[in-house]
Amino acid sequence: MKKAVVVFVVAALVLITTGLWILSSAGKFTPFDLVTFGIIICVVGFAVFVGYKRLTSARRGEPAEDELSKRILQKTAAWAYYVSLYLWVAMLFIKDRVKLDTEELIGAGILGMAVSFAVCWLIFNFRGVRNE
């Protein structure tokens, strides 16, 4: 139960921070900001989905995490790390060709890492993990 609540707390913190960012921007949004906002909402939606899954497991009297979910998380973290390494190299390549502020570059990199983690998790959750 605690682990499910932690996910919701983190999702809420991200939403609150995004809300503060929107308020401080005073409606001056660039298209890049809107894309960033959309990706943040998707990532928060993914976190809420994971939290909901953990909560329903806990309600059924099952553990929130077991050996399969831990294995999926390990594999996801490993793959997301490799993807992130490549992503940052790609970001540096893009930086030389497209005009981007340092803030935008770092923001896009962090969001890219979050998205790569979510995508890897979905792939392993769908495909399964065989210890072979």
Binding site: S57, R60, G61, E62, P63, D66, E67, L68, S69, R71, R127, G128, V129, R130, N131, E132
Partner: protein
């Protein structure tokens, strides 16, 4: 590795949820096991065999 969990579950009249609770894993793990998308740890394999009062090699078939 193949397994006969579904067959044994039917024989013991257990749902996936019942089995999950007995071996202390999530229902999704039983689903993945039955679809051969996950090979269990030795501990989980022993726990499942114990629930079905059988030997591990009767339930899990290594090919």
């Amino acid at each position: 590795m193949n397994n006969r969990i579904r067959e044994y579950r039917a024989r013991f009249n257990l749902t996936q949820e019942d089995l999950a609770r007995k071996v202390n894993v999530r229902r999704e793990t039983i689903v993945f096991l039955e679809k051969n998308k996950y090979n269990p740890s030795l501990r989980l394999a022993f726990d499942i065999a114990r629930v079905f009062e059988s030997k591990i090699e009767d339930i899990f078939i290594f090919e």
